[in-house]
Symmetry: C2
Subunit: 127 residues, 2 copies
């Protein structure tokens, strides 16, 4: 697969909450279809369909054991997706930095307001 087609199938596979939950479960260790179906209150065929999408995207592989065929995470496509997103990191880091600046400004304004209120109250005491 080309990089573009890998990214297409990786992002499409990740665009579903059940498939992301399956990957989260598999991040704890290998699991069979039955073990994966259990917590989802989903039929085994429904889970199998999701597993097929993940397998075609190269995000999981299945073991050879004919009975269990345990699923495991394959991380290479996730690394590629993360690498693609990294090209945009400067945008969100920039936004976070702006948010930080804004918070600092607000804090400084609040501190200045407090100080001036205090000064006015002190003056009030004197008169």
């Amino acid at each position: 697969m080309t990089t573009a087609r890998t990214l297409d199938s990786t992002f499409a596979a990740l665009a579903d909450p059940t498939r992301r939950a399956i990957l989260a479960r598999l991040s704890l260790g290998e699991a069979s279809v039955n073990e994966l179906a259990e917590p989802f209150a989903m039929s085994q065929p429904a889970i199998s369909k999701h597993l097929k999408v993940l397998e075609l995207a190269g995000l999981i592989s299945r073991g050879r054991d004919a009975q269990r065929r345990p699923c495991r995470i394959e991380a290479a496509p996730l690394a590629q997706a993360s690498g693609w997103l990294d090209n945009y990191r400067r945008f969100w880091e920039h936004s976070f930095a702006q948010l930080d600046d804004l918070l600092e400004e607000l804090k400084a304004e609040q501190a200045a307001a407090k100080k001036s209120t205090k000064r006015r109250n002190t003056k009030g005491d004197k008169t």
Copy 2:
């Protein structure tokens, strides 16, 4: 939107090469629909459809200028997607480490093979 729904729409929006190319173009600066359509040999309505998907996913925003309505990247959903993928970083870093070990082993084997060939050749010279 909940985190799960944001991730759904972000990953779905990113699963298309034209939409990723639009974001790449916008990473260089704001652009109008016309400017975006130009390099893609795509009709303006086709580009507008992709922009709608990106806008609904919160990945771009449109300017107020009624004529141009320039598009710009909004990075927050990208940051969230990157954060989700980070949960799996240990898997690909582990794979890369294994690959490194394998390469080191191969290099060591090659060096050993070279050495033994050299020794054999030197012996051959003597006899």
